[in-house]
Amino acid sequence: MSASILETKALTKAFGGLTAVDKIDLSVEAGKITSVIGPNGAGKTTLFNLIAGVYAPTSGEILFQGNPLGHAPPHKRAALGIARTFQNVLLFDNMTALENVMTGQHPRSRYGFFEAAFRLPKSHREEEAISLAAKRYLTLVGLGMYADRNPLSLPLGQQKLLTIARALATEPKLLLLDEPGAGLNALEKQSLSELIRRIREMGVTIVLVEHDMDLVMGIAEWVIVLDSGQKIAEGTASQVQKDKKVIAAYLGEEEAIE
């Protein structure tokens, strides 16, 4: 029985009158690829934002590796080992691709203003390490030759890969991918699936929110289905596909589940 790396207990988030996430209990098994799906407005991104610490829960709690996250702000959670990507990419366009990935090493390095100001040996040592690690992650996602390019000069598919590299550079235990497949063509989605599997081999737990059912069914080992802020089903990909509640929830959507 694998340990659960992330748990939520009666997690609720209300914005004024709208309850985006409604008493959700879920558990993510360590080392597996879990996917969260559901129709638009189901509360998937809100859930991510709650886990990442961008929103504070209205009630309920989130446990990471057994410990409650409480009010920890996003940057603390990154240090704890929770990394994420964004639906709208959010790359830093004022630095090169490599430097973008190097920012990911921020929680794994220490030297500050003082060491930097006077170019102390510690700063040189850590910069070396940061640079090497960043190069490794950049190469891992297949963007090694774009190290010195401006991120905005890359096509969307590669920009998304870059954000994954940046998130990986934080050396997370849990990686939250927010619609990594959106806007990608079939070939790019293929490489994405392979990349996600490779990341899993590294021992990182992955949770992804995704609309593309083929992508999800192809790599997810566990699927959680949300609708209107509540969990309506969970199971393996094939179990969920056949679940009547899930089909009903999606009937209002364009996408049919094959």
């Binding site: 610490g53 961008v54 929103y55 504070a56 009010h71 702000p73 996003p74």
Partner: protein
């Protein structure tokens, strides 16, 4: 402190507070419709005083026409400010917008100093300077004008926002700019109106307070700061709260000065506004929810 002095402070505080309230309303209108803090807001107040001085003393117009013309000109300048600077600087960052409006404020101040010199001026009082007496305190008739006009302005604005088409369009814009655009409201036109309206309100305040307490070309910054504090107290939302905030600031200022001890001397009047602002901000940053603190 004697009752007489206290009542005096209350009345002058109320009077000053009304002006701060008007300035605060100007800030609030622009911020709600466009999301911009207009650092030139205080300069419109100054312009109101300067222009009405010019039209009454130099051009010899009677008071009411001079007032109307001044307010109108200020509204036009406000519109010009929006068109020439903010409209032109497409997709400007928050920093850029702040600096642009500061630049505009400095520029307007410079032009005013150039045209009207650096000495404080005072247009004629609306109904003379014969003081009235109330509960042992002396009140200038102009003070009553100030309070009355502020009240009238508040009522007109309330009516404007609740019952007229333009007012509702402005409110729609402040709630959700893109949604407003989708139902046919032109957000740029609304922004233009907001700027003109805020400038007019500010100028009105300046024109009615200048006969009472002089106006000089560099009064804009201090007035702007105080109007901002009033608007902050109202959370940049409720009209009533902004007006209340302005009056509270005015009264606290005057009472503190009347005490005239240590840090509460008249020279440090500005400090009171700033301390209040810092207190508001500290209180607000304490009871902040996560959404507001993090992007």
């Amino acid at each position: 402190m004697t009752t007489h002095l206290f009542v005096q402070s209350l009345t002058s505080g109320l009077t000053q507070g009304c002006i701060y309230a008007l300035i605060g309303l100007g800030f609030t209108i622009i911020f709600n419709v466009t999301g911009i803090i207009n650092f030139a807001q205080g300069e419109f107040v100054m312009l109101g005083g300067m222009l009405s001085f010019y039209f009454t003393r130099s051009a010899g117009l009677p008071i009411i026409p001079a007032l109307l013309v001044s307010v109108l000109i200020a509204a036009l300048i406000g519109a010009a400010l929006y068109l020439l600077t903010i409209r032109t600087a497409r997709r400007a960052s928050v920093v850029s917008l702040i600096i642009i409006t500061i630049g505009a404020a400095i520029f307007i101040r410079g032009i005013a100093g150039e045209k009207w010199g650096v000495n404080p001026i005072s247009p004629p009082a609306f109904t003379g300077k014969h003081p009235l007496h109330f509960l042992g305190a002396t009140i200038q008739p102009q003070a009553l004008w100030i309070i009355g006009i502020t009240l009238a302005a508040a009522v007109v604005l309330h009516f404007l926002f609740s019952s007229t088409v333009i007012g509702k369009a402005l409110r729609a814009c402040s709630m959700n700019r893109s949604a407003a655009g989708l139902v046919g409201i032109n957000p740029r036109m609304m922004a233009l109106i907001a700027f003109a309206l805020a400038a007019a309100i500010g100028a009105l305040g300046g024109a009615v307070v200048a006969p009472l307490s002089f106006m000089s070309y560099d009064a804009g910054v201090g007035l702007g700061l105080k109007g901002f504090v009033a608007a902050s107290m109202g959370g940049f939302k409720s009209q009533t709260a902004v007006i209340a905030g302005g009056i509270v600031l005015g009264v606290v200022e005057q009472v503190a000065i009347a005490i005239d001890w240590g840090p509460f001397k008249s020279e440090y009047k500005e400090a009171i506004a700033l301390v209040l602002l810092l207190l508001i901000l500290v209180v607000r940053s304490r009871k902040l929810s996560e959404e507001e603190r993090v992007s």
